[in-house]
Each structure stands twice: as C-alpha cells, then as structure tokens.
C-alpha cells in the first residue's frame, strides 16, 4: 500500500469512525496501550539496545544518545503521561455556540477532530508514545515518522500501541508508521487525505517541510528569542533572568539569542549581566558601540538574524522600548520575547506591539512551553498565526463543525419575507 492509498483509507474510513467514537472508547484504548507497554517492556528495551549499539558504532554524540535511550525511567514517564491524558477532559463534542436562528431552527457549533495528521519527529522513542496517544485522545488518525536512529525501538513501540488500540476497538489504520525517508515526500503530496502536517526537528528540516507541501503545516522553524532590558529594569532581576534565558538549556527554541539593552543602563546594569554570562562561559558578541563594555566579537546588523542554540549571545543597545519592539519584529521569529522593566506602561506597550506568540514581562523566555503553561501534554510550539499559536496542547488538535437542525426550514421563506430570523443564544 502506498502512502497515498493508506492515507486515503484513513481519511475515508478510519477517520470518520474515530471521530464518532466515544470518549470512553478512546480512554479505554489509552489504558490498553499503557498496559501493553508495561507488559512488553523487556521487548522494548531489547529493541532500544540495538538502536543504541548502532548509534555507538556510528559515533553518535553522547547528548544525542541520551535522547535515543528508552529505559525504565522513560517508560515510566510515558505511562504517567498516558494516565494524565486519560484524566483530561474529552476535547471533542464541546458545544462552543448554541443559538436559535428562528423558531425550531437551532445552530450548534461542536468541536471535532482535525482528521488525519502527519507528524514527523526527532529520534526520541518517548515522542512516538506521546504523539500517538495525544492523537487518539483527540480522535485524530496519525501517520508517524520518527528519526531513523531509533528505527528498531519505534517499530516495536508502534506495533504494541497499534495492536492495543485495535484490540480495544479503535478502527483499523487509526495509526500508521513510516520508516523510510522517501515516505516523507510521499506524505507531503497527500493533499486531500492529510489535513495537517506537524514537523518537529531542526530549523532547516521544518522549513523544508513548509516549502514543499500544500497541506497546512503547524510548527516553528527558527526560535530567535529576545530579552530586552528596559531603562526602568531592576538590575537583580535582569541578571537572573538573562542568565536563565540564555544558559538554562542552550539548544532549545525558547532560549534567548539576542539581548537588547536600553542605552540608559549600558553602564549600570549591562556590566553586571556581562559578568554573570561570562561566569557561565557565554561568548558575548555585540555591535561596535558596546565593545568598550563587553569586549566581545563585533557583529553587524544582519548577524542578529542568527539562531545560535549555543553558549553565544548577541547584544545591541537601543534608545527606547519602541526601538526594541522594532528590532524584535524585524529580526525575531515571532516565538517568545521578554521585557525586563518596572514600568507598567513600557511593559504594556511591549506586549501590545511585539508580534510574537509569547510576550513575557520580568521572567525567562524559557517558560514558553506547554508543560509549564499547564497544558499537560504538548504537541509542539507554533509560530504561525492561524489556528493554534505558541505552545500547542490538545486544543490545537481539534477543529469544529456547525450543526443546524430544522424542521423543514427553507431559505426562500426568509428571502421572500414570509419569515425572519430571530437570533437567540441558548
């Protein structure tokens, strides 16, 4: 079966069935999946050992190997994630509008699954468990393609999950696994069958996906986040927040890449921030103007469009909150940007005018995350403006439909003045 044939079947047969399934049926399947993962843990760890041996043989660096590893601790994290998911309210069939248009003619807007979702994710076996269970909870069929470094583990995990879902009564082809890289380009051509693509991974990879499909894509490529130290900033907070935002975890999309500093505090707060960053071995790059304070590599304006994902920070001085906003809207990636200030008006102006999914005041950009926002599971972070924006939880995997119920109502009666609408929210 080609990917096109598979997704056509999902769209026409599995997806309507899954979207009509009860909350109870989907939760039972999640519990069956958790049970099956627990029972088959040895088989999973054996498969993972093979992937790890291959990784060793091909010289995969240690931080990457940490992500490939699937052990007791990772399994237990997955199981508690599934238990949390079962306890979350059903995201489907929520009534978001209930209106009588006229006597006996009632309009209801109800949430429903998006349909068929393609998720392409990094080499992390726990991501496969998390994504497949999130999709099932929200009534979506999913085509999964994980990183090839965990191919063996993915296959074993997928088979366990899919069989448990079927045995619990979910429809055939509710989930599918792709294993070949070539299947990604096949998947991108399945417009009409696949309703949404969620790519996770490197900047270049996500951009490639966005540029090579007519299917809607939800995700983010760059994460060029800024922290702006305002004239009215508190020095202690500035030092603490900038250090955290840059160094708490450098290789993630919500780490700060650029520090903007109001010229009024270049000789007061900036030196303290500099010392804290140097103490964490951060390389500081700046415009020529700030070289006397920072002593780092000099960079030009265009360099502020770089995402470092490393112990490097770019620094620039600005005259005002408005100049900071203009810089962020020009060079940022509309992900997460923060202001440090004790001035309420400056904070409000920054939050209103910065065109990003997350606008933060006096806290670290690293808080931009579905778990930290209290969403439970996270599908990813979106820098697009349509549908879901910022950290995306279960809510981002549903859409809605309008149900209108009448009793022989026709438009001609209204067009020709025999009846008129009498809108009344119920």
């Amino acid at each position: 079966m080609t990917i096109n044939e598979l997704t056509r079947k999902m769209k026409l047969i599995s997806s309507p069935q899954l979207s009509a399934s009860s909350s109870d049926a989907r939760n039972k399947a999640l519990l069956a999946i958790a049970e099956a993962l627990k029972e088959n843990s040895e088989k999973i760890f054996e498969a993972n050992a093979k992937d790890l041996a291959n990784a060793d043989a091909s010289g995969v660096p240690t931080p990457v190997k940490k992500r490939l590893k699937f052990d007791e601790a990772k399994l237990s994290g997955c199981l508690s994630g599934i238990a949390d998911l079962v306890n979350l309210e059903d995201p489907l069939r929520k009534v978001t509008l209930d209106r009588e248009l006229d006597e006996g003619l009632v309009l209801t807007r109800l949430t429903c699954p998006i349909g068929v979702i393609g998720v392409i994710f990094e080499a992390r076996p726990d991501a496969l468990v998390q994504i497949s269970t999130l999709c099932l909870k929200s009534g979506n069929c999913a085509v999964l393609k994980g990183g090839s470094e965990t191919r063996t583990t993915n296959r074993v995990l997928f088979d366990i999950i899919y069989e448990a879902a079927l045995s619990a009564g979910l429809p055939e082809n509710c989930l599918a696994l792709c294993e070949e890289r070539s299947e990604i380009s096949e998947l991108l051509k399945c417009e009409g069958n696949v309703d949404l693509i969620i790519p996770r991974g490197s900047n270049a990879f996500v951009r490639y996906i966005m540029d090579n499909t007519h299917i809607p894509v939800m995700g983010h490529a760059d994460g060029i986040c800024h922290t702006y130290i305002d004239a009215a900033a508190d020095a202690e907070k500035a030092v603490k927040i900038v250090t955290d935002a840059k160094t708490q975890y450098v290789s993630v999309c919500n780490a700060t890449e650029t520090l903007l500093v109001n010229r009024n505090v270049v000789n007061t707060i900036l030196p303290k921030v500099r010392d804290a960053l140097l103490a964490k071995n951060v390389k500081i790059r700046s415009t020529a103007e700030l070289a006397p304070v920072l002593n780092g590599e000099i960079i030009a304006d265009d360099d502020f469009a770089n995402e470092y994902l490393d112990y490097i920070i770019a620094v620039k001085a600005v005259d005002s909150v408005d100049e900071a906003i203009a810089h962020i809207n020009r060079f940022g990636s509309h992900h997460t940007d923060a202001i440090i200030t004790e001035d309420r008006a400056a904070a409000d102006r920054f939050c209103a005018l910065v065109d990003s999914a997350d606008v933060f005041v006096n806290c670290s950009t690293r808080f931009a995350d579905g778990y930290r926002f209290g969403f439970g599971a996270e599908v990813g972070i979106s820098t697009g403006k349509l549908h879901a924006r910022g950290p995306v939880g279960l809510e981002g995997l549903v859409t809605y439909k309008y149900r209108l119920e009448g009793n022989g109502h026709i438009v001609a009666d209204y067009a020709e003045g025999r009846r008129s609408f009498n809108f009344k929210d119920l």
Copy 2:
C-alpha cells in the same frame, strides 16, 4: 513602492500600531468612513457610471452588471453594515485564559489581530467597503484587490475610506489597494509580510491562489453540497427542502449539487421531489438505476464530482445512511451537507461522520451563510479545517498571544526542584 516594500512597511510599522489601537479609535474611524461615503456619494455614483458604461460596451451579461452596480440602495446597505459593525463587541484583547502558574507568575491569553491580510475579491464595490471595514474593526491591515470591472468605483471608494481612516487617526498604510492583475502574483510572494490571504471568486481562481503561495489561505474552492433523503424522511419536508436547496439561488456555493436517495423511498418520495424539480425547470441527471423514475441523462460515478452552479442536479440511490456518508466524504467539498430524516439516530450518525464544515438536519443547505448564522458580517466561507471553518465572521480575523508576567521568575528554580508549579485558573 513595490507590493513587497508596501507589505513590509505594513508588517513592521502600521500593523503593530493598529493592533495596539483602542476599540474607540477603530470605531471612530468606522464612523468617519461612513460619514465620508455619505458626503461623497455623487462622486462614487459617477465613477460607477463609468464602470457600467464600460461593462455595457464590452457586453457584460445583465446578472453580472447587477453586481457591478453601486447605487443609493447599495450605499445605504453599506452604511447600515458599518453601523452594525461599530456596535459589535471589540474582538481584540479578549482574555480567553487567565492562569496563575505559581505565586506571582500569571499567564494570560489575549485575542489580537492576525496582522496583514491580503483579500482578493470579485467585482462588487460593496465588497470593498465591507472587507476594509471588517479588517479595520479587527485591527488588521489589509491589501485589497477587487475585480477589474469595477476598477474606477474601487479607486474612488478606496480613496474616500483610506483618507477618512487616516484623518480619524489610524496609521498610514493601514489599507492599500492593488489595481493591476500582476500585483496578485507579487502579493502571493510576500511571505513573512502577509499573514493570510483570503481569495473570493471562481473555483479555478481560488485553487490557483491556494496552489501558488506559501502564505496561509482561508477560503473555499468547490461547493459540492449534498442533500440525502433518508429512509425515514418526511416526504413533504423532502420536497420543500430539496427544491429550495437546488433552486433558491443556483449560482452559489451552498446550493445542493447532488441528491442522494435511500433505495427504500425511490418509488415513494423521489417521484414527488422529481415533479417539484421539473416544475422549476431543473435538469435531472442520474445513475442508470434511477432512469426508470427520473428519465434524465445518465451519468457515471465520476460525474458526481461536478459543481454545476446551474439548474442541474445529479441523483444517486444508496442503501443506507452509511453509504450516503461515504459518498459525501469521497465526492463532496467539505462545505455543507444535509440529511432529511425523522430518525434521530440516523441524523446523529450523519452529523458525526460527515467530514464537512456544516452538517444540516431537515433544512436547506442554503442556510450556510454568516448572515443567516447571526454573525453579522461575513468574510467568506472556509472549507479548510484549521483556524476558522464554515462561515467566517469577525472571530476568524483574530488570533491570540500569550502574556506571561513574573517578578524575576526563572526556569532553573523549577528544573532544579527549588520551586514547583501550582496551576490555578483565575
């Protein structure tokens, strides 16, 4: 200024300013626009007379000329539309989530404009007024391109609207008008500046737009709507509804193109429906099976993917509600589909499994419309599943951002166990 330069300015300068503007400032601009249109009505009618003379000279058919015409009645419709819009609640800065993550760390989700929107619409001067005022009400900058047959009227209307908006204090370049067809392809390349394209017009045109841009597109190409007469249908309602759905206005996207009939009622209800349709001069096409009842042109399965927009209907018999659902999901355009039945279970199954924006029970597909749904103004109808679906009102022109406000909060404190989240919805 090229379209790229113009939209860049909109994105970086006008859009942040407009998104921070007060509800009061935007409503004042709308009132100023209404006033200016009233004051300049003669100038508008003169311009329209030129467009109509050109249309006459080039032999434009009468129904099209009706849409080109902008007279007292159309102006008065536009003015009352603006008055309604002023009275609608501000769609911006609505708080849709308010949550304390931990002591002193508060997350708020607020609605905000999408940003810069490109709208390409049919030759109807009233559409220019409606779209530009909807965009301003929702804080969006807009690039407008109307049909060339109303070029003179569009220019005059646009100048009046734009000048009134500026004089009321809205930012420069909050609106722009394109006049050349070549500017559409320039607009489609302005990814990064333009956040959304809304195309209105013919099926082929909308599909061209969707296939030729990486900017998100909201709209619909085909409108292949179905009405299904179930085994448990009431004959009288079936006759009334099918006649209305097919003939009340044939050239629109929510008119029914295909009639599905349960085999149990082919010899009872279908002949009555046939007689009503023939009385309205509808040409009936059907599968060979139904020829003895319908006597019309015989068509094959593939013909059910046609959108007629005319006094033509395609008819097919099915065995069950499930077969009707399967046909609709395969051949439909996910716009609007109706079931006629007195059987609650059949209605529920139809609404749950049909994968369309609008699923109707015992009423005409022609009700699928923002005005009839009580949304006030309508931007268009979307058959996509992301963001807005079905008839799109003001709500479809906004997105949201997350504002997180702390007091020096850093992620390291949570990652290293010194603090923990304590989610509390406020």
